[in-house]
């Protein structure tokens, strides 16, 4: 759901399950997208990126899907582990500017 003030969208999963975190981006001219993981007290950590000429990209235990038609990005985490618990941000960069703009973030909690 939409986050207001301090309330982030949250996702709670059991250890070992697959997680899907969604992000709606705003700029149809965005051509580069990144997913970041942020643990408490730390800076955002790069997970995976994708360019607009692709619709899917896989990394280790993670997959990013891009649907440009509906301006939607998702991050899939396979076999989620307690260490995956964090806030996840999607970020987009426009073709005509250099600015990387972050979304609101989703709090993922993995229950052992």
């Amino acid at each position: 759901g939409e986050s207001v003030g301090l309330h982030l969208p949250t996702l709670s999963v059991q250890e070992g399950d697959n997680s899907i975190i969604n992000c709606a981006y705003s700029n149809s001219a965005s051509d580069y997208f990144i997913w970041y993981k942020q643990e408490s007290g730390k800076g955002p950590q790069f997970i995976i990126d994708i360019r607009s000429n692709m619709d899917k990209r896989q990394g280790q235990r993670v997959t990013v899907l891009l649907n440009k038609t509906v301006k939607h990005l998702s991050l899939q985490i396979a076999a989620t582990q307690p260490g995956d618990s964090a806030v996840y941000f999607c970020a987009e960069k426009g073709r005509s500017n250099y600015k990387l703009t972050f979304g609101k973030g989703t709090l993922l909690t993995v229950n052992p």
């Binding site: 986050s3 003030g5 301090l6 309330h7 982030l8 051509d31 580069y32 990144i34 970041y36 007290g41 730390k42 800076g43 955002p44 950590q45 790069f46 990126d49 360019r51 941000f89 970020a91 960069k93 073709r95 500017n97 250099y98 600015k99 990387l100 703009t101 972050f102 979304g103 609101k104 973030g105």
Partner: protein, 116 residues
């Protein structure tokens, strides 16, 4: 490789005081960014440098915030005078390229500023 270094980790000041943050990017990274992250929100870009030149400072409150990267390596961000709403984490990031050359930003762990 060593990551982005930031100091101090924490800072508490009273409103109307001044404060400065320091950042040393990853070696060889030409582009340096300062972001402000308010609790519960995503980071917001304040200023972006390419080497020692400013690429984008459109969201920097220039009446109170200033930043410099004189030798194209490390950078300082200053707030003078601070307001209560400046309480946030100030994140520095660096990347190898900018513009049409896409590369991910690598972030430091930030400076948590509390203005009382």
């Amino acid at each position: 490789e060593a990551g982005v270094a930031q100091s101090p980790r924490y800072k508490i000041i009273e409103k109307r005081q001044s404060v400065a943050f320091w950042c040393n990017p990853i070696s060889g990274h030409a582009t340096l960014y300062w972001y402000q992250q308010i609790l519960g929100q995503g980071p917001k870009l304040l200023i972006q440098f390419q080497n020692n030149g400013v690429v984008d400072d459109s969201q920097l409150p220039k009446d109170r915030f200033s930043a410099e990267r004189l030798k194209g390596v490390d950078s300082t961000l200053k707030i003078q005078p601070a307001k209560l709403e400046d309480s946030a984490v100030y994140l520095c990031a660096s990347s190898q390229r900018t513009g049409t050359g896409d590369s991910p930003l690598h972030f430091g762990n930030g400076t948590r500023l509390t203005v009382t």
